[in-house]
Structure formats: C-alpha cells, structure tokens
Symmetry: C2
Subunit: 326 residues, 2 copies
C-alpha cells in the first residue's frame, strides 16, 4: 500500500516532467500552459486518480497519465473560466488572459485540452474506450455546469435544487471522474466503479457547500482573509439562495436592499446580511445539506469491497477535506 | 465503389442526425453548436474521411463517426478563430460571438471539441489509439498554426517558408488527417496511410495558395465579389510576402506606402499593389509554388496501390479543388 505522501511524491515528480514538455514553440501557445501548471494548487484531482488505482490494488504508476489528463483538463477549464469570469487573479497570480491576452488564453486553453487527450492516449489501450467515455461525459458536464453558473448570474431567483445540480456539474463530477479513472485502470468491477464515482461526486458537492459556509462562518484568522467576500459580491451561494427561499416579506426586502445597493460599507453589508442568515438559521441548514452529501459519499465508500486499511485512509482523507475550518 | 455524390448523401444524412443531437439544455451551450453546423460549408473534410475509407475498399459507413469528428473539430476551430480574428461574419451569417457573446462562443466551442472526441470514441475500439494519436497531433498543429498566424500579424516581415509552414499547420494538416483517419479505419498499411496523408496535406497547401492567387487574379464575375480584398486588408498572403522579398528599393518603398496608408481609394490601392505584383511576376511565381505542392500531392496519390477507378476519381476531385477559377 502506498501512503498518500508517496502518491503525492510520485505525482509531483511526474507533473514536473510534464511541465518540461511545454518548452516548445510557438512560446505564446506553450508558456501559458506551463505558467498555469506551475501555479500549483492542491492537485487533488490527479491525486484522486492515483488513489482510485491504489484502492483496487493497482500500481498507481499505471494511472499516472490519466492523472495528468484530469489535471490538464482542470487547468484548461481554469484558463477559460477566468476569461469568462473576467478574473484578474488565480492562486494569487495574474490570470493567463491578464498576463498575456484573451486570444492567447483561448488558444492555449484549447491546446491544453487537446494535451489532456494526448495523455489519456498513453493509458493502456484496453481501457481507452471506457476512459474516453467517462472523460468526455465529464468534460461535457463541466461545460454545462459553467454555462448554468453564467446563466444564474442574470437570474433574479435560482431554485436550491438547480444550484446544487450546477455545483454538481461544474465542480463535483470531475472529482468522481478522477477517482473512477483510477479504478478503471485497476480493473475494478462496474459496481465498485459506480460507488467510487458517487463517493467522489458527493464529496465534491459537500466540499463546495463547505466553501460557501466558510466564506461567511469560517475562522477568518485561519482562512487568512476577511470572511464575507461572497456577500460583498452578491454571489449566489447556497446560503443566499436558501435565505431568499425562506425569508419573510421584511427579510426579503432587506436582502434585496443590500443586493441592489451600489455604494455600501463592506462591514455593514456583511453584518446585515449575516444577521438575516442567522435569523433564518442558515448555517445549520447549510451544514445539514452538506452532511447529507457527505454521508452519501461515505455510504458509497463503505459499500466498496476493498482493503480495509486503504479504505480507512480514504475515509480520513475525505474527513480532512470536509472538516476543515478554512 | 461509391460515387462522391453517394458519399455526400451519406454524409449529409448523418450530419443532419448529428445536428439533432444538439437539441439539449442548457440551450446557450448547444444552440451555437447547432447554428454553426447548420451554416453548411462544403463539408470537404468529413467527405475526405469517407473517401479515405472507400479508397481502401472499406464501407464508408464505418468511418462516419470519424468524419463527424473532423467536421466538429473544424467547426470548433471556426468558432474560436472568429473570436480571435474579431470576425463579424462566417459564411455570410453572424459569427457565434456576434450572435450570442464571447463567453458563449468560448464555452460552446469547448463543448464542440469534446463532442468531436465523443464521436471519435464511437469508432471501432481497435483503431482508437491510432485515430486519437493522429487526431490529437493534428489538433495541436492547428493550434500552433493559428498562433503563428496571430504572431505574423504583428511582424513587419515574415519569411516565405514560415508562411508556407503556417498554412500547412493551420489548414492543410487537417485535410491530411481527415483522409488518413478513413484509411486507418479501412486497415490500410502504414505506407499507404503516409501517402494519403501527404496527398491531403499538399492539396491543402496548394488550395490555400490558390486562394491567395484568386483573391488578386481571380475572375471577379465568377468569384461573385470584387477581387483584391486581401490587398485592402494588408493580409500577409504568399503574394505580398514574396513581393516584399523580391522588391527593389523603390518597389518596397511603394508597397510600404500602401501598407501604412490609412485613408485610400480602394481601387487605387488594389491597382497600385497589383501593378508591383505584375512587375515582379508574382502570379507566375505563386502558381509555380502552388504547382509544386499540387504535384507533390499527385505523386503521393500515384504511389498508392489501390483500385484505379477510385484513384482516378480522387485525381479528378483534387483537380476540381485546385483548377477552380473562384
């Protein structure tokens, strides 16, 4: 059995080799790909692919190219999402379209998506149809999720179930896919594959809900930044959407007042909106929704017939993702 | 043996079914894909895939999903290129980013690229690694070609060999790829595959050079539009780059005069630049360069050991692409 630290080491070594493969011309096409990969990030998705292989007793090295594929796909989507969201910063550094320009960000993103398929094609040929099927389906769903997210921005009201569906598509399916790809390469049976996919997807939804909660109720010292950023930017989080659903006439009026106010004192807006959240018991309701998905994730993991020690390691890893305070 | 009309009928029927698969939600993601495909175009690339299969005695129906993949890829690249080129029109209709917006054009293009891989994954599994390898390599080269083309826009001088290399990457490799994909599915041997690829690529380069020539020396009545559009927009065509290479000091001075002039009479600019082209014998030089690639294409086709009737049909098709007057 491999410890997760060993898996991380394997991953970081191979990602650094992957990074060297971008030393090519034309530089305007390859430098942005090298740049975004070098910004780091937690590398959770490719790690999950190696974990998915290891869990079913497969040498994780066999899944390394599939791991590259999910990391490349994730970074492609960051480059293009950052253009669409007009985001200036990514992991504390200039986004690709800011550092270069939008055209370069579009094209280097495209090339990075193709590169993901090149890595996929290095996997053992017998697994290729199944890997491609899953990877393609997931990639389409991520696009659908991003489109729904953009659509929501211009809607006055978004139903809670639509929001949960959106985060499922935009962020969670890729976690399920990452794990399942490892399990495919390990030759796991269909039922185990489905369970590990569901585990990853549900953890992904729970993780995103936790993000929403921490932005308002996180420990700002541990987060290392002021909480309430989502409130200031009117981001349609689970907390805001649920409040709009539960608010009485007066509370809804006050929420709309803050949502439409152009000039405001940031702290005043945060504390006023948070006050309504508190009146409506939103923290508890959100925690409950998160727990529902977390429990579903754990139930799926429990159903998998595999080495207990490995399973426990994955339980602990899931806990560390969800029980975080920042 | 199938006539090309039969192949076209097969293709159009299946592309219309493919088009129906875009009746999905979210509509903002799928409508643009349906729209660009419905604008038509000559469908040369997917036709070449069917031709590539038929040439080696394979039922062209077996290559239909590979044909879809190249057509989807081509249309994805049109959507994204139109954003980068800031183009208002495509085939006489509004471009996707004009009809919707840039974000929708980026994302629907991404989804269309993924859809191409979904079609590829419907091909017989035993051919998948080879098809993917070729398709990925081609897709990367098309991105490189587009990047080089964008780089050239801001350069004062571009060497002729760099220009020919750029059009090779940006437009010609996809023709070679389209044909070779058909030949892979037909189980053609490596050497035949290489010849049919080279044939397609060289025809592609010759076709693009013909485009450059026709813009200046085409029969404007047959083209149905005023010639000289490339001269007006200072497009770095083979003709312009070759003139800059061959011009004496005086001619270079006059070319630069017209290249930098902001306000000008269109007809005066066209006739003045064309006059220098004529002095330098550019039409003949360009025809010669085109013929070089056309001859190389034909030599490759000649080398292929296959049914003579089919081969002759492809010779005629190549001739129709290159000997056109518009």
């Amino acid at each position: 059995m491999e410890t997760y630290t060993q898996l991380y080491n394997l991953l970081n070594k191979s990602l650094s080799e992957l990074n060297d493969s971008f030393d090519k011309h034309p530089k305007e096409l390859y430098d942005p790909q090298k740049y975004i990969l070098s910004l780091g990030g937690k590398r959770i998705r490719p790690l999950l692919t190696l974990i998915g292989a290891d869990l079913f007793n497969c040498d994780p090295g066999k899944a390394i190219h599939a791991a590259h594929a999910v990391e490349l796909f994730h970074n492609f989507s960051l480059i293009h999402d950052d253009i669409m969201d007009n985001a200036p910063l990514r992991r504390g550094n200039a986004t690709v379209h800011e550092k270069w320009n939008t055209n370069i960000a579009i094209l280097s993103g495209d090339a990075m998506l193709v590169k993901a398929y090149q890595e996929l094609n290095k996997c053992e040929a017998c697994f290729l149809p199944q890997l491609l099927q899953l990877f393609n389906q997931t990639a389409i769903e991520v696009c659908e999720g991003q489109q729904l997210d953009m659509n929501f921005e211009t809607l006055d009201e978004v139903a809670i179930e639509d929001y949960v569906r959106m985060i499922g598509l935009k962020t969670a399916v890729l976690l399920g896919c990452s794990l399942q790809m490892g399990s495919i390469i390990a030759g796991a049976d269909d039922q185990s594959q489905q369970h590990i996919y569901n585990f990853g997807k549900e953890i992904g939804v729970a993780f995103q809900l936790k993000d929403d909660i921490l932005d308002v109720y996180g420990n700002s010292e541990k987060v290392g930044k002021q909480t309430g950023g989502d409130i200031i930017s009117n981001k349609k989080t689970f907390l805001l959407l649920k409040s709009l659903e539960l608010a009485n006439k007066e509370q809804r009026h006050e929420l709309n007042f803050w949502l439409t106010k152009i000039d405001f004192d940031k702290n005043e807006k945060i504390s006023s909106v948070k006050n309504i959240f508190d009146q409506l018991n939103i923290e508890t309701i959100s925690e409950k929704e998160m727990s529902k998905h977390y429990s579903s994730a754990l139930a799926n993991l429990r159903s998998i017939d595999c080495n207990h020690q490995k399973k426990n390691q994955l339980f602990s890893f899931a806990e560390s993702l969800i029980e975080r305070e920042f």
